[in-house]
């Protein structure tokens, strides 16, 4: 019905079957490939990358037909395909790749290539020399869109030229972007010829847009999805590594201050018995049912299910074990108020979440209920503004969310080098010599394959690690499913396991989408 109101949009949502209208959170502010990195962006749509990631996170050829790595893992040599052209008709040359990498290295880019020593063309091939081996480097490469040297200039951000499967047809700042299939694309021609991305961040607005049939697919939330079936649409549930958990400071209060002078440490959570007891006292299946309406899976690490994940990080809920841990380390409820104490210190601490994030709030509250009931530890769940959060998280537990298709996230989350830095990594101040050694070995390994055992050992090596089985600096709770309403008949292909952020991960494989007849 509502489609009639806009004659223009009926064609895109109804009759023609090679167009799609997507309700999308966060239309970008420009399309300069140097301003963004990785798969959480428009890069795979508008640009080609030297290599790409398939749905199982394997590195596959894209613009490069192949690449080789020297034995010392310091020299990467890429052979580029010769049939690739930019959307303005100019061929993609090795010099464009050199230009792209040098532009990023020269700064004013948000992509970090500090590990790269030099980039140059040799015998028609692209050579990248590193300062030190970096096992994740190829993943960084997979996120870098190659820009045309001849066309890069002042207004490139709004008039991008790439060699990817789509080109930008129109961009209305803050409202919509329209992509159309790139006729000059070297890969298979996409079935979806035109994609309209409509800016839509509010979950109520998203529901209204599908109820009135104005978009073909849009994000939704667990609360909305549980309460609303929309005729003509199916609910798409994508599993993710988009995990939420509670950070637990591991050092005692007052031991040090962060770079910006905030006091660090917490006298309750610095006791490993408390941390592990909380971790084992929580029934995560119940958590997913109660707080996420069933749209989530238990989380045991920052990277469940990824190739570098250690499956041994999974723990069973064991309330008896949790109680025993607390009893034997002197946390007992002597005054009978339901909350344990030790040396006059109550087993009670606040847990902060971003005020307004209802999923994180619900999850933390549900966890807090279980922990209080099961083991007599009190978690007082409180909302906080982002600024306060930055100041408080080095001293108090906070609810954070991670989930990345690059294992380097683990390095920054748990390496001792992150302690006290003013960022979102390692607010627990966790640092352990054995874990550092594994993480250094993983990052400095010669390849992704060689690195995997080290990434896994950093989580759990049989005696220690960053997982809840080990030192337990982080109570992982749940991986939040990404939910979408999709019009019946819209096939969104095989999706890669979703990282944090539900928008770009959905459309990364837009070229594989199609309408069923």
């Amino acid at each position: 019905m509502a489609g009639d109101a806009d004659k223009g949009s009926t064609t895109s949502t109804g009759s023609t079957k090679d167009e799609v209208t997507i309700g999308f959170p966060g239309i970008p502010s420009g399309f300069d490939p140097f301003t963004v990195s990785g798969h959480g962006s428009f890069v795979p749509l508008l640009y080609s990358t030297l290599v790409a990631l398939d749905k199982d996170v394997n590195v596959v050829p894209d613009l490069a037909t192949g690449y080789s790595v020297s034995d010392d893992a310091l020299t990467y040599t890429f052979t580029l395909r010769t049939d690739a052209v930019f959307s303005d008709g100019e061929p993609v040359k090795v010099s464009d790749a050199v230009f792209t990498f040098e532009k990023i290295m020269s700064g004013a880019s948000e992509i970090d290539l500090a590990v790269v020593d030099s980039v140059f063309e040799s015998d028609g091939q692209l050579v990248i020399k590193l300062k030190r081996p970096r096992s994740t480097f190829i993943l960084d490469v997979a996120g870098i869109g190659i820009a045309p040297e001849h066309a890069y200039g002042e207004d490139f951000s709004l008039h991008p030229i790439g060699s990817g499967p789509y080109v930008l047809e129109q961009y209305d700042v803050g409202q919509q972007m329209i992509l159309m299939a790139n006729n000059l694309y070297y890969g298979a021609a996409p079935a979806i010829k035109r994609a309209v991305f409509v800016n839509m961040t509010d979950e109520d607005q998203q529901l209204i847009a599908v109820k009135s049939g104005q978009v073909d697919i849009t994000l939704t939330s667990a609360t909305i999805a549980a309460a609303n079936t929309v005729p003509g649409y199916r609910l798409v549930v994508e599993e993710t590594v988009d995990n939420m958990g509670i950070t637990m400071p591991v050092i005692p209060a007052g031991s040090m201050a962060s770079d910006s002078g905030n006091p660090m440490g917490n006298d309750v959570t610095c006791d490993i018995a408390v941390r592990k007891a909380v971790a084992y006292a929580i029934d995560r299946e119940r958590l997913c049912r109660e707080a996420l309406n069933g749209y989530g899976t238990p989380a045991y690490s920052e990277n469940d299910g990824m190739p570098w994940w250690n499956p041994e990080s999974v723990i069973e809920t064991d309330v008896a074990f949790a109680r025993e841990l607390l009893d034997s380390s002197g946390w007992v409820d002597a005054d009978g108020d339901g909350i344990r104490e030790k040396n006059g210190q109550k087993a009670s601490f606040p847990v902060y979440y971003f005020a307004g994030d209802s999923a994180r709030q619900a999850l933390a509250m549900s966890a807090a209920n279980q922990v209080l009931e099961n083991i007599g530890v009190e978690m007082v769940v409180q909302g906080a503004g982002e600024g306060d959060m930055v100041a408080m998280m080095v001293a108090w537990p906070v609810v954070l969310a991670w989930g990345s298709s690059n294992p380097i996230t683990s390095y920054y989350l748990f390496h001792s080098a992150s302690i006290g830095r003013d960022d979102w990594y390692d607010p627990e101040s966790f640092g352990d010599a054995a874990v550092d050694a594994y993480l250094d070995a993983a990052l400095g390994a010669n390849s992704m394959e060689e690195a995997i055992p080290y990434w896994q050992k950093a989580q759990w090596d049989g005696t220690t690690g960053t997982s809840m089985r080990g030192e337990c600096p982080y109570i992982f709770l749940a991986n939040k499913d990404h939910l979408y309403y999709a019009r019946e008949g819209l096939d969104i292909g095989d999706q890669m396991i979703h990282a944090h952020g539900a928008g770009w991960t959905l459309v990364a494989n837009l070229k594989e989408w199609r309408w069923e007849n």
Partner: protein, 339 residues
């Protein structure tokens, strides 16, 4: 009306008039200076700066790259130097580069301004007319049922937040009835050159209605109060005694007396309009200054754009209040030299 005009002409060139213009301009400059200093200080003191943002969204960033980005954002300079540099640029018309759009701030503002201006102007006129008319109706029917119902509606609208009104309008007129689109300023998927004026108005309707709800109830209640005072005055009693009917009293005495406070209120509400547009534009994904301000301030820490929009808003709010002042004096010469 002829009388009004002659006042304007007579006062236009006098020395006193020039002096009061000087005072207005002086006040305006002082206000803008204060707003610039205060908002710059607040933005600088915010614990969330571009660097924390950058670290948050870029896992594995090296110190080398942070240093490069700090140079790009220009946050290593001392704050006073940065402020003076920015202020100098402001005067020269170089408002800096938006860090999210990577384009000059004035370009971004210019684009957003036209959309916002259409929205705010429509809402402003709409709320002015409906508010004034509703106030007259309430006063004419004071203490009878139309007055009671309308007054409750007005009080209700005064107390609910703008974004909630927006969501209700969306649920009713977009989701259920399908009369209006769910948002944006143009229909999705249509090429810019083929968007018609009718389509633009169609997309403008709900956001403008939402925004007008912000101030028309307030205006209506004030007009009603003023008119009720008039109705209880001796000269209205005298007019009735002379045999004037309801309409004659309303148009001859009521509206004349209620118009001045209504105009002052309506121009004074420009500040609320700017505030409300942040919410209205966000609910409807309407691409104006308000949504740009929310994005620049909350998500992106785009300080140059944020400050630019603050300054533009300050200019408009000042202009609104100034117009209210001048109009008051033009319409009612008794207030000359006051304020």
């Amino acid at each position: 009306m002829g009388k009004l005009k002659s006042w304007g002409i007579r006062g236009g060139v006098s020395l006193g008039k020039l002096k009061s213009w000087g005072i207005y301009i002086g006040r305006g400059v002082a206000l803008l200076f204060a707003v610039s200093a205060l908002s710059f200080a607040l933005a600088s003191a915010s614990p969330i700066n571009p660097e924390t943002r950058y670290r948050l969204s870029h896992p594995g960033v090296s110190q080398e790259n942070v240093t490069k980005m700090r140079e790009y954002w220009g946050i290593d300079e001392p704050p006073v130097g940065r402020y003076l540099g920015w202020l100098g640029g402001l005067v020269r018309g170089e408002w800096g580069m938006s860090t999210t759009y990577r384009r000059p701030v004035l370009d971004v503002i210019g684009e957003r301004f036209s959309a916002s201006f259409a929205l705010m102007a429509t809402a402003w006129v709409l709320s002015g007319l409906t508010g004034f008319a509703m106030g007259c109706v309430m006063a004419a029917a004071r203490d009878r049922w139309p007055d009671r119902i309308l007054r409750r509606i007005c009080l209700f609208l005064c107390s609910v937040p703008t974004f909630w009104i927006g969501l209700v309008l969306l649920a009713v007129f977009s989701a259920n009835l399908g009369w209006f689109p769910f948002g944006l300023a143009v229909p999705p998927g249509v090429r810019a050159e083929s968007v018609t004026l009718a389509q633009r108005i169609h997309h403008l309707a709900l956001p403008a209605l939402t925004l007008s709800c912000l101030s028309f109830a307030n205006l209506a209640l004030h007009v009603r109060e003023k008119l009720v005072d008039v109705y209880q005055s001796d000269y209205v009693l005298y007019a009735r005694a002379r045999g004037e009917c309801g309409a004659q009293i309303l148009f001859g005495h009521g509206i004349r007396n209620a118009l001045v406070p209504a105009i002052i209120m309506q121009f004074g509400s420009v500040s609320e309009l700017f505030g409300g547009s942040v919410f209205a534009e966000s609910v409807f994904s309407y691409p104006g200054l308000g949504s740009a301000l929310a994005k620049a301030g909350m998500d992106a820490s785009d300080i140059p754009l944020f400050l630019g929009i603050v300054m533009i808003s300050a200019v408009f709010i000042f202009a609104g209040n100034l117009t209210a002042n001048i109009l008051t004096q033009v319409i009612d010469p008794r207030t000359k030299g006051v304020g």
